[in-house]
């Protein structure tokens, strides 16, 4: 179950402290220009070690293309990508190799598989998300051919919530802040958590514009369902909202419904999705990240034999996983939309006639 998507399928492999992280992208149409510098720019946004708001593990995160591209174009065959690990320090984990870290997957992986790769969380490490971003970059290249843009930024850190959402500004913010007036307070909160050997949660906002209406496969691979799975399946995300999200449950129908007129929808409470399909309005999603579970305060835990232990975590960790996580969330949404774009192209007989019979 290491494959994501139906028509555009991404299979990832690799562990935090193994040889590296890889993925295979299957189902990408032939003829897409694979712009390696764009992939690199996406990797850079997720890369660790960029500044003091991130883990100090420094990884080049160079993406090597192993297959599926010839003379700069996708060939329709599977694209293999490989990102070598260059900066893993397994010795950081020696003292807790038998102790389950609170808030981590250690305990559940041990229960699932009956054994443990204790080095940096192994497969469960957020390092795996490097492959997601590399694949997401390719999805974004595909979406660009159809003028679909996916963007993200930080909506809140702890209880410091933004009220302006400037995706252009976010690009150059060290913490991808959407609201420049809140950025300093948000940074301060991260730094204070870090200085207290603690961590803090945050919320990412992701938007996608210019989706053709009708994307999403009812009833069990809907656009909203697929987005929710893609995001909730990311490490640290504990809640997903679409459009008005949790507010919807306190609204009246007359407040929530988006009326239409000849110019389109008058409002966007739905977040661009109706009946599980894109309605042409801006797709709007919020992802709530819990605080990084790796903190440097001593915590009560048990070991693999069930004996109580004090867990003291070393290593290098993000004080706020939402920051770099926002880029991963954006990548996942790009992958979902690309998948839906491929799937939707067979939903009408008239579409197939355009492809095969040249009828327009």
């Amino acid at each position: 179950m290491n494959t994501f998507g139906q028509a555009l399928r991404v299979t990832t492999f690799g562990e935090s402290h193994g040889e590296g992280i890889g993925c295979v992208i299957d189902g990408l149409p032939a003829g897409l220009k694979i712009d390696e510098s764009f992939i690199e720019s996406m990797m850079k946004r997720r890369a660790p070690g960029l500044n003091r708001f991130s883990t100090q593990r420094k990884e080049a995160d160079r993406v090597q293309i192993l297959s599926g591209v010839f003379q700069g174009l996708s060939t329709g065959t599977p694209i293999g990508l490989w990102i070598a690990n260059t900066s893993s320090k397994s010795s950081d984990y020696d003292n807790i190799k038998d102790i389950f870290r609170p808030g981590h997957a250690d305990f559940t992986y041990f229960k699932k598989y009956g054994l443990r790769d204790y080095r940096g969380g192994g497969r469960s490490s957020a390092r795996e998300s490097a492959a997601r971003v590399a694949a997401g970059a390719i999805a974004k290249l595909l979406l660009q051919e159809f003028n679909i843009q996916v963007r993200s930024g930080i909506y809140s850190i702890g209880d410091v919530v933004g009220s302006e959402f400037d995706f252009e500004y976010a690009k150059n913010s060290e913490i991808y802040a959407l609201d420049k007036h809140k950025e300093q307070a948000q940074k301060a909160l991260i730094e204070s958590a870090k200085n207290a050997h603690n961590s803090i949660g945050g919320v990412a906002l992701i938007e996608a514009s210019d989706l053709p209406p009708g994307l999403g496969e009812p009833l069990y691979h809907k656009l909203d369902g697929a987005i929710a799975e893609a995001l909730m399946g990311l490490n640290a995300i504990k809640a997903v909202e679409i459009g008005d999200g949790i507010l919807s449950s306190t609204q009246y129908g007359s407040e929530h419904n988006d009326e239409m007129n000849e110019q389109g929808f008058k409002t966007n409470h739905s977040g661009g999705i109706l009946g599980g399909m894109s309605n042409g309005n801006t797709l709007r999603v919020k992802a709530h990240f819990k605080p990084t579970p790796s903190i440097f305060l001593p915590q009560e835990s048990i070991d693999v034999n069930g004996v109580g232990q004090v867990c003291k975590i070393k290593g290098r960790h993000d004080p706020c996983v939402a920051v770099r996580g926002s880029v991963v969330a954006e990548s996942m949404i790009a992958l979902v939309i690309a998948d839906m774009l491929l799937l939707h192209s067979t939903s009408q007989l008239s579409f197939l006639k355009k492809v095969y019979l040249g009828e327009l």
Copy 2:
């Protein structure tokens, strides 16, 4: 894309105003006692027309078993279920057959498929959830063999939020209220919305207990990801929270992490899921339902030709879709857990040896 699940697969078909709603359940192990009275009791909980807080469409919702059961036991072959429509009134839709209802899937289905089954929303109607509940009942029968219980109730209606969560009380509440002290206020809110020809949102809480640790398939069919998809894919749900949910984004690591001792987890901020797998603690999920989009107030809209129209909805609709929706959400979570239970049974070589070689 009308199939849900990986090992336990449910395929549904049928429309609100067609012949009926059906489903095929594939992958259910042989030898399970299929208790039809239990299925009936689950159907009754979701059934329309029970009281004044629900739509007045009355459906017997009798589940006919078409296949896969012999002498009261599942045979391992696909179980076909059929629920005939008996009370559809398509004439209620004549006046809006060319007009898109705000908040509904009408517009997006038309864009997706290029044609429209205007009768009661066709396939997009919440009536399809009858099949989900029938399948969910069978999933619950399977889970009971392993002492896993899934329960649900209403957490809030509009802004009336419960603070006690009594699942036993909820069973007999007309609105499945978890908090008996808030029930009257919650009912009053639904009634006032109904009397104003409007509708109101609400939140369902779903819990599952006694899951063996390790359920969930990393990294792309995690327990939390699958739950999020299952719920967000339900009509009207706009946000899903697991454990502390949206609160997580405002917490520090030291607050959120669940420490362990020799008795188990000391807290349950995670909602029973770590690293996408059950940790043995109670699974806790909240589903936020928007208000029913069908309201009787006139709304601005357009028709299939893009011309502005006033949309006046007739018919019979729930004033608060969260109430009956909570039963559907519970059913979906039962299906997810059952799926994960089957998948998990091949995750260790030692499990297979128990099956094939009788080694314990």
Copy 3:
């Protein structure tokens, strides 16, 4: 695992002596005219009881459309089909309810599921193929929109092998014989087997013309692989050949290779498939059916307790399952091609641009 196909997915359910046989067709594009009289004509070709070369079980095999069609057109939502059983005689099986019939699935189903539906083979009965033909008929309707024809007939019965392949003639032959000069000898062989309370094998030839080149999904859902699975998965088929088939293993490269010139391929040893994809030449497949396992001669067997027993089969059975089986094989190939047609439509970026951007 009761679902067939990737983009066009058919899920079947039901047993020989249960309520009936059903299927759900998912992924069919919206806007296809569903010609019920064509479905009926296909069902008639497979129907039992037509003449003395077939079982005497008479079934109306009326296909009821439960969902997915509105005003004569497919809506893009799943099409539910139902074929009621009207002529099952379970009493025919009373004397062998605990005895495994040689050549049948009785023993293996019992081992797989730990219990037994002894009535007419239950799920393993060839009666299930009624659903395949109904679904295949809809696939053929889709293929006709692209001028693709799929045809079949009997190539040989026992050792009486045809040398002319007249698919038009086969249509009106009682045994679907392709070679009118061999038809009488083939019929005589079936009749003599029947009179000896025995059964006889046979070979069906299936052809498909005017496939666009490029259909088939390398490397693990190739056109030839999918056809082989579809056919070998049919009851009684023990060998599948494509193009020159078994002869290929005795040929030199210079004999087998199909050279090309400006008019196309000069020969068709490949049977229309190269590298797992259609090459535009006629697709040519042979399916080898074993003799019907149900014979009326006494046979040595064991019962569910492993005790030796004599098995005496009653009931009504085809003396040569290849005859009606040829229609099922044709239906399966139609389903495979339709699936591949849908899948292929996303293989080039330029195809998607035609759909979404109207570029030709």
Copy 4:
């Protein structure tokens, strides 16, 4: 569509003249000892350049384990394997970079994807089968835990057909001949084809013993169907037979049916499969390989512009692809059985109780 299997899923990537060939194995249970020397021994059996009956391309075919193994055991996470290309000579293809080679996938890939990787067939090259054998080796390691053996050898070359089937002898034969008395004649036929700049077809026989009865997922992922797909999807295979195979179509029911007594099946016409599931008898499959399409005789063809050309193939090619192909076929069957073994373990409620409740 570069993934094979349902519970044990193998995704391959890479091209003949690219960086290498890789695969990801997903779904393998945790706790399996990964014996690298065994993988190496399987790779050696498929390796090119071993003797004069094989292509002279020499590849070390070293399998690098990228992920999923820790301290010698499978961890339950995906196993990434990588086999670097070390001996590709793309210049061999310069003269035919625009010409379609008869019998090859060149034409169909060009039609499917609209572009061409002309170097050694790119993705369609048999070199991809290196990944299949590496994955198959791991499947064999899993099967060995359950005492299931899969073996293969050459049954015939051209019209020289063996009549003894000695799998032990085949292991050490340069052409994996099963019949030592026919080996010389078979070798002579390969050599004479090679000397005539031609190629020759052949048949591989694959057997698997000690399968538990009940493996195979009816009705659309049967054991025989899955084997047929796995083999027919291999380059050069044009026919697949199970058990008596093509002979079945000339038999009477009384000849073909395998009677049973208290010791088991009296014969094995079925080849170990009834109703699509293993019956406990030896699984017996024949795969018919066409002659290698790459021959050195000039052949008539066309180029990418449709203009007639003479195709003169250079490079290094197997004179008889069946020889090394037999190892690939064996690997694929091991993968199919392993997949079915995993899937079968959820078919009875009692199996799950053994896993979860420790009931035997």
